[in-house]
């Protein structure tokens, strides 16, 4: 009887299968945050792989497990994927013990990402606190690579101290460009040679001038305590609630809306997030 033959499931489409990828380069950004450049071992896959700023990948280390990480590179520079990863748990500990040229498993991209098509043509304010640079560097680089698609561009980054600022040299160099306002601040400058601002990230808002709020989008990522203060500042600038985007963190085991760990009420962060608007935050409880 035909019906009882074994169903055929294409192994190629198993969404849980990690794909082999090589650690091309790694170096420390801070005491506990490391930068990883990763490339799919299959070169065709590496070059054709596309994603959106704000999306994430699942990393897999056989025998240790899987964990989600934001992509820090931009799809406008294909071939290599970049991540900045803090050593904080089981998977990251294992990842930190790996060397250049070692192979790991990756799968993705997952999540909604930033709606870049809808952001184009507008002024863009990117606000980062601490490790929030991981997902927002992707958007920043994307905007810089497509500079003529955006209006005014502000990049505000607050870190605890100069040595805690991720991509410090890269961002310091951006200050020389005249097509964006790169505002970098540290809470404390103990050595006294920090060339930019001191104070929390919200103090940088004084430098934002002459934006058209209706035509501005803002993105925020940082430690949970930061959101309230930054959002207050953005609302003071009259930026509409649904034009303020933030990207959130949750525990995830699948990345594809099955395992339930990232559920917030009925919203699966991995599918409907991790990028939400401030309106979503008011509308749905527990987001931040």
């Amino acid at each position: 009887m035909r019906h009882y033959t074994r169903p055929t499931i294409d192994r190629e489409v198993n969404p849980y299968t990690p794909e082999p990828a090589r650690i091309v380069r790694k170096y420390d950004l801070t005491d506990d945050v490391r930068f990883f450049q990763i490339r799919f071992r299959d070169m065709d896959r590496a070059l054709s792989f596309n994603y959106k700023p704000g999306q994430f990948m699942m990393f897999s280390i056989a025998g240790v497990g899987e964990a989600p990480f934001s992509i820090s590179s931009t799809p406008s520079r294909p071939g290599l994927l970049e991540f900045c990863i803090r050593r904080v748990g089981k998977v990251t500990n294992a990842l930190f013990s790996l060397k250049e040229n070692d192979i790991i498993g990756i799968r993705g991209p997952y999540g909604n990402g930033f709606p870049v098509e809808k952001m184009e043509g507008r002024d863009l304010i990117i606000v980062v606190g601490g490790l929030g640079a991981a997902p927002l560097r992707s958007l920043l680089l994307y905007a810089l690579d497509n500079r003529d698609h955006f209006g005014k561009l502000y990049f505000l980054y607050g870190a605890k101290s100069p040595k805690d600022m991720l991509f410090r040299e890269e961002f310091l160099a951006l200050r020389d460009r005249d097509d964006l306002e790169c505002l970098l601040s540290v809470d404390k400058d103990e050595e006294g040679n920090w060339p930019c601002y001191t104070g929390v990230v919200t103090t940088l808002f004084d430098h934002i001038k002459d934006i058209d709020p209706e035509n501005t989008v803002a993105t925020v990522c940082g430690p949970p305590v930061m959101y309230k203060y930054v959002i207050d500042e953005l609302l003071k600038l009259d930026i509409p609630k649904h034009q303020i985007f933030m990207t959130l963190e949750r525990r995830m085991k699948c990345g594809i809306g099955k395992c339930g760990n990232c559920a917030i009420g009925y919203v699966y962060t991995c599918i409907e997030g991790p990028v939400f608007t401030y309106w979503d935050v008011i509308h749905m409880k527990e987001l931040i």
Binding site: Y4, I9, Y16, G63, R86, K90, G105, G260
Partner: protein, 344 residues
Amino acid sequence: MKVLKMKKEDRDKFLRAMMQVGELWAPVKQGNETRLRYRKIEDPSIIGDKFNRPILPLKKFLYPPKLPMFKFSEERYEAEIGNVPMRIIFGVTPCDIHAMLIMDETFMEHYPDPYYIERREKTIIIGHSCEPDEYCMCKSMGTHYIEEGFDLAMSDLGDFYLVWIGSSKGHDLTRLVPELFDENIKDSDIKKYVEWRRKRDASFEKVFDFTGIPDIMELSYYSPIWEELGEKCLSCGSCVMVCPTCNCFNVMDELTLSPEVKGERVRYWTTCLFIEHALVAGGHNFRGKRAERVRQFYIHKLQAFGAEFGSPACVGCGRCVVTCPVNINVWEVVGKLKGKEAYI
């Protein structure tokens, strides 16, 4: 839908004929057990004719408590697909079939899950009419009858069964032993069925009015009832284990004892009542309080699925009522939210 008749005494002949197609499983009690459990059947005559909820629902076949996903060695992952036996599950109650249809949406829509699909395709569902007890809430949930989701469904009308054919596969099964089936359904049979329905519908002891629950839950987000329930809840997760629509899982790598990196990536059932469910690396817990976790369970069960799929994810099987050691269940929660007028 095609409907046939089968004599009561022919049931076991039919079940035996089906055993050539795959393993036969049915809910049975053994020894002095008081509750049904799905077991693999060698001799169909041990299957009783009174059906009710087994301890674990149908999900244990489609989405087992421990599911091997990959065999890995270094960075090679070999999917563990293709070794699931063909199984015929007999005696599935309407509530569990409704639950499976909800599970289908979770696992078979965007990013289809190959592990679930394989088991789903290799599971033949034979539904059976059931006798409600004091814990059944299916009438309140509108899940006490089924229209789809089965290959065959049998209504026990005393001396004969009505056999509803739900799929082409089910139709093939009846053709294994065509002599047992009668196509000729008479007026008197229909009357008998109508009478059976009337009696069964009247036999539900408790019914509640579920309407408005999603809205009331939205309004009750800050209600003290969650603190009250959180005080009582043991975070044991038993409600999730037995709930036919709960699907949360954790993924773990299990190493074999060997000098190389070798092992299995396995999925386990987990629950939103466990403290680590919303815990992220670095130690931040988004639902560190028990009250928040109980609320999450009920929001997802009673409110959220309404938004996602148009109906709540509770099918009224009553397992949480039977299982929870401190009496937190859908009855309790709906009662607390709506007050006494919930019960009609």
